[in-house]
């Protein structure tokens, strides 16, 4: 019983992390119509930058949360630069844009390998959250519960931003119909930069938040990108609710698969995606057919 409970908590935690990662992926996909193949790289850069800040290698030390926020801002700036300098040159050529993000993801992986070496870097759990919560016979790591809380807070904030602000309304308009959005005076290309930076920043933040659970290692990007892909195919593009539900589902499948059938964990992970593609190509909550 305790085993199942712990597995469930781990699944929800992982789902929360995946939500932080894939919300941006889904928004970028919905707005720009391209899968950003550097999204896993953004996750990894965020984690690496955060650990560097945390270790005090920059000459000063910051606490965990500040490190996560600074890393997120830095990754957001990187994302904005990439959108402005590379993707903007190829506006309208989606295939070329995808190939460019693929090329950049290889470059980022190699630069990280050069900069941070090949050994995994473990990230210390922030002090105050290193303890456990005891519920009956079960013991839950406090940090994992905190990650769930963070994911829920971000989900609410993102929802409020999309549904209740002017910017959110413009993004929704851009997702629904970019041409009409342009006609009514929304600068859609400017939205591209904003959403790209926002998505990259969220991914970078998720990387650092995930650090104490996953640690940081070369290849983390290639581990996370397919997960984000599955979440978005499951949930549908450009839908916040879709990426939330998709993340939780993938979190469960991934953790239960790892625990029960480790050899086929990957296969089981992609199975629901195949089912969705066959039965409901637009995703569970997406408006547009993928």
């Amino acid at each position: 019983m305790t085993f199942w409970l712990l597995l469930t908590v781990n699944s929800v935690t992982f789902g929360g992390l995946l939500f932080l990662l894939s919300a941006g992926f889904s928004l970028i996909f919905g707005l720009m119509r391209i899968p950003n193949l550097t999204h896993g790289s953004m996750f990894m850069i965020g984690a690496y930058l955060g650990t560097t800040l945390l270790s005090g290698a920059m000459g000063f030390t910051v606490n965990f949360w500040l490190a996560a926020i600074i890393a997120a801002v830095e990754v957001a700036i990187l994302g904005a630069l990439m959108e402005r300098l590379l993707l903007r040159r190829l506006a309208g050529q989606q295939l070329a844009q995808v190939l460019v993000t693929l090329g950049v993801s290889f470059m980022v992986a190699d630069v990280c390998l050069m900069g941070w070496g090949g050994d995994p870097i473990s990230v210390a759990t922030p002090p105050g959250l290193a303890g456990f919560v005891r519920v009956g016979t079960a013991v839950f790591p406090l940090y994992r519960l905190a990650v769930i809380a963070i994911a829920v807070v971000f989900a609410v904030l993102l929802w409020l931003m999309l549904e209740r602000t002017r910017l959110g309304a413009m993004i929704r308009a851009g997702v629904d119909d970019p041409q009409m959005a342009r006609v009514v005076g929304i600068r859609v290309s400017q939205l591209f930069t904003i959403v790209f930076a926002l998505g990259a920043g969220l991914a970078g933040f998720a990387g650092m938040i995930g650090g104490p659970i996953l640690s940081v290692y070369p290849g983390l990007d290639q581990d996370m990108l397919p997960l984000a892909l599955v979440v978005v195919i499951l949930g549908g593009t450009g839908s916040l609710l879709g990426s939330f539900v998709g993340s939780i589902v993938v979190g469960f499948i991934y953790n239960f698969g790892q625990a029960l059938l480790p050899e086929l964990a990957y296969f089981i992970l992609f199975l629901p995606m195949v089912l969705v593609l066959v039965l409901r190509p637009q995703g569970l909550f997406g408006g547009q057919v993928l």
Binding site: R89, V98, L113, P226, L264, M273
Partner: protein, 334 residues
């Protein structure tokens, strides 16, 4: 026979003779092996080009197809079966998995097609990597010996080169016949105007499906050559990087041209081997070349070179013509 056809035949004969002469010309075993690699990756690129260039469907999962046949060969040989059975089973498995890929991925086109093939490729990679009892995980499977078809040993680099060359020429001829066939023409039609093709009564899905199968066949053949060349297979050969390398060969050489992928394969294999002799940052180079080609010469090296030489010729011709007309104006002065 027109002079153009004669010229083409002569060019083909010269090309084949040059390829046969390659090992004699370079001699050194290391370079003969690189030449074999170029040819086997050229077959892979030819297969991928059928989809990318002629069907307009960009696949990022082809390394998975490549790996299936390679793994089947390695697994059956390790289990004690003969080469003939292993190769036939590998081709069959490759085609079955290709059919599965096609059935799922062809539900979409464009960007979604890329995402689905990427995910499917990752599944195959994940199986190779994690299903340790079947695939030996990260340690891979070794192949004890290369086959000796018709009593000709492939153990030496030169012998293997010759065998690879024969397979390559057959694959190239098959690709040429496919492209010029009615099916190939229809495929280009579905790439450019799928709705019109549909209205004309063509079964767009079925045309794409057969193109995918042909692509998978060439890819499986390349996978079999790959496992015999290395006498080893590990999940590395199935990773997304490998799919991206194949795509780079196709688009760097020129997607939708017959010889572009061959040139691209030569470029990528040679750069990879030369660069890795000096710097260890091959992945960075791969990414940088990718970005540079997509941004600056999106049509690829072969059409790009043709365009540049043509415009150079044209401007040279024009300036010559201008000089001539200037002379003719200046000429009839009394």
């Amino acid at each position: 026979m027109t002079s153009q056809a004669t010229a083409r035949r002569v060019a083909i004969a010269v090309g084949i003779l040059a390829l046969i002469a390659v090992p004699y010309a370079i001699g050194e075993v290391y370079y003969v092996n690189i030449a074999s690699q170029v040819l086997l990756y050229a077959i892979f690129a030819l297969g991928l080009n059928v989809l990318v260039g002629y069907a307009g469907l960009v696949s990022l999962g082809h390394a998975g197809l490549f790996g299936v046949s390679a793994y089947v060969v390695a697994y059956l040989l390790a289990a004690g079966y003969g080469h003939t059975l292993a190769i036939i089973a590998a081709l069959a498995a490759g085609l079955v998995v290709t059919a599965g890929f096609a059935a799922l991925a062809l539900r979409a086109i464009g960007i979604s097609f890329i995402m689905i093939t990427l995910a499917l490729g990752e599944i195959i990679w994940g199986l190779a990597y994690r299903w340790i009892s079947l695939t030996n995980g990260d340690n891979g499977i070794s192949v004890a010996a290369r086959p000796a078809p018709f009593g000709l040993s492939l153990a030496s680099p030169r012998g293997f080169y010759d065998a690879t060359l024969v397979v390559f020429l057959i694959a190239l001829a098959a690709a040429a016949i496919f492209v010029r066939s009615p099916l190939g023409a229809a495929l280009c039609g579905t790439r450019d105007q799928p709705r019109r093709m549909n209205a004309l009564g063509y079964h767009v899905w079925m045309i794409r499906f057969w193109a995918f199968m042909f692509s998978g066949l060439l890819t499986s053949i390349a996978g079999i050559l790959f496992v015999y060349y290395n006498e080893f297979i590990s999940p590395q050969a199935l990773a997304l990087t490998a799919s991206a390398e194949g795509l780079l060969m196709v688009i760097s050489g020129g997607a939708g041209t017959l010889l572009g992928p061959v040139v691209g394969a030569a470029l990528v294999v040679i750069v990879k081997n030369v660069v890795s002799a000096y710097v260890t940052r091959w992945n960075f180079m791969l990414g940088a070349i990718f970005v540079a080609i997509v941004v600056f010469i999106p049509e690829g090296l072969v059409p790009g070179a043709v365009r540049l030489t043509r415009s150079a010729w044209r401007s040279a011709w024009r300036s010559a013509g201008r000089a001539k007309s200037a002379a003719s104006i200046a000429g009839p002065k009394p």
